[in-house]
């Protein structure tokens, strides 16, 4: 009598355990904005750990959801290529920004090596006092006893200052880095809110400003410049990059050094409030900070997945993945795999083996800045504990609309000074 009404299935309100398996699409950005992805991943890990999704905003793709399967895929760079990009959206042909994270060997190796030194442990040791001083200043300026957004005043500010330091970017204009980072990851093609033309314009502005800095520094004495721009300008393997390749590497370093640490800085505050016994444990023993930091990074998983493309037919977890198929390694799911991680849904700041998590990836694309990230978080927590009795979360966080960047735009808090 009436035509069938085809309703779009809203996964954010559906029951993860009764939705037909083939309708589960964990790449839906709304699942992350509403924090409703957990049940779907739990179900996939139990019922269909290597899962094919036929229809999504990004076309068909495979999901790898268990820790050990993810490790297998991440290690096999000769089968699973990064050349077609490390996120699910297909990159527009007329706006490609290549960088080493989306390259395979041998080019990946030489370009990565050109910038690795900036975050080499010896250089990090030199940065420690600067980070500590800047973190202290930010914390000292926070309003005591009144509500504010921790994301804006602490997480964004601190990671932006750090990035400005690594690039030797004009300090007063540092929030441009935040803006470009946000633009890079919030595009509509990735299911985010930013129209594509706005995103492109922002990134081209980024390129223009950084080209100016490159030109200022390219003829300087290389031994005196240890910032990332000078390193690229002086290294034979990167000094002849095309502009879009320069932009690609800038975006990689800006997003890599910005979103990730930023959201772990917010996440840590949130988790300690969710698990108050752990906060007590921490206050009683600040020496636990170095163990807590990797646990924060596991629990947050600031990048929910990385994508690869199969270069040949291959079997993962009993399923045949065909040449050309897109594959998402869901770190956010593997980090909660109870077969590998004990009580994975609990935030435990003194785990025996806290660095055994997937958030940095494994294999040749493993996060280059992992030690920098850990150092930043460690210093900030040391400085927080020396100043404040509690950073109290007073409302629910606002989460980012993205299935790639797993983060917060708001976290309302009140800080209480030490008595």
């Amino acid at each position: 009598m009436s035509e069938a009404v085809i309703e779009k299935l809203d996964l954010t309100t559906a029951d993860p355990w009764s939705v037909p398996l083939d309708k589960i699409n964990v790449s839906d950005p709304a699942l992350f904005e509403t924090d409703t992805h957990w049940g779907y991943f739990e179900r996939l890990r139990k019922e269909d750990p290597v899962h094919y999704c036929e229809e999504s905003l990004f076309g068909p793709y495979w999901s790898i959801t268990k820790f050990n399967d993810i490790m297998q895929v991440d290690k096999a760079h000769h089968i699973f290529s990064s050349e077609d990009g490390i996120t699910l959206p297909d990159r527009p042909l007329d706006f490609r920004t290549p960088n080493f994270i989306s390259m395979d060997p041998p080019k990946h190796d030489v370009q990565r090596k050109a910038v690795t030194n900036a975050v080499a442990p010896l250089n990090l040791a030199k940065l420690e006092p600067i980070i500590r001083e800047r973190a202290g200043k930010i914390l000292d300026n926070l309003p005591i006893g009144e509500e504010f957004n921790w994301v804006d005043l602490v997480s964004v500010e601190l990671t932006t200052q750090m990035l400005a330091t690594l690039f030797d970017f004009p300090f007063e204009e540092r929030r441009k880095l935040t803006y470009w980072s946000d633009m890079a990851t919030s595009g509509e093609l990735a299911g985010g809110p930013t129209p594509e033309p706005v995103r492109r314009a922002a990134l081209l502005e980024c390129l223009e400003v950084f080209t100016g800095l490159w030109n200022e520094r390219v003829n300087n004495d290389p031994s005196e410049d240890i910032d990332l721009i000078s390193m690229m300008a002086h290294n034979p393997d990167t000094q002849n990059m095309e502009p879009m390749e320069y932009l690609g590497n800038l975006i990689l370093l800006i997003v890599g050094g910005n979103d990730t640490t930023r959201n772990s800085l917010s996440g840590g505050v949130y988790f300690l409030n969710e698990f108050p016994d752990e906060y007590d444990k921490l206050r009683a023993n600040p020496g636990l900070i170095p163990k807590m930091v990797p646990e924060i990074i596991r629990f947050q998983t600031p990048l929910a997945y990385m994508r690869r493309t199969a270069m040949e037919d291959t079997v993962v977890g009993g399923k045949t993945i065909k040449e050309g198929d897109k594959v998402a390694m869901w770190y956010v799911s593997g980090n909660r795999d109870e077969e590998v991680i004990d009580r994975p849904n609990e935030f435990i700041i003194d785990r025996a083996n806290p660095r055994h998590h997937l958030s940095f990836g494994f294999g040749i694309h493993r996060c280059m800045g992992n030690r920098l990230a850990e150092m930043q978080l460690r210093i900030v927590w040391e400085e927080i504990l020396s100043r404040f009795e509690t950073v109290e979360v007073v409302g629910e966080p606002v989460r980012v609309l993205s299935s790639f960047v797993k983060g917060y735009s708001e976290l309302p808090v009140i800080v209480h000074a030490k008595q």
Binding site: M71, D74, K75, H77, P105, D109, R112, K113, T116, N117, A120, P121, L122, N353, R355, H356, F360, F362, G363, I364, R366, N370, R371
Partner: protein, 106 residues
């Protein structure tokens, strides 16, 4: 049982007895020798168990696999006798092997 001598960057020596088949990495982490992180737990995929094998033992320790080679190659502090300790299983022949630990793991 074969033994391994780990020498920390500051010169501190640790002589550890192990079973044939144990990796040098698991001997170090299992006996709380500082300087080996082993984030991936022995999967040859993080390169945070980097060690430098004493010249006299290089040949007996064998050659790195292609995977190990690709991980080692990312380390700017790599030396000609660098290895990942998770990829060296202990054998009777390696009894007495000496390895240096780097100042930092990446």
């Amino acid at each position: 049982m074969p033994t391994v001598k780990f020498i920390e960057h500051n010169g501190t020596e640790h002589v550890i007895e192990g079973e044939v088949g144990d990796s040098l990495m698991s001997l170090a982490t299992g006996n709380l020798v500082p300087g080996i992180d082993a984030d991936c737990g022995g999967e040859c995929s993080c390169a945070t168990c980097h060690c430098i094998v004493d010249d006299a033992w290089m040949e007996k320790a064998g050659k790195p696999s292609e995977t190990e080679e690709s991980m080692l190659d990312l380390n700017p502090d790599r030396e000609s006798n660098s290895r990942l300790s998770c990829q060296i299983p202990l054998t009777e022949e390696l009894d007495g092997i000496v390895v240096q630990l780097p100042e930092f793991q990446y």
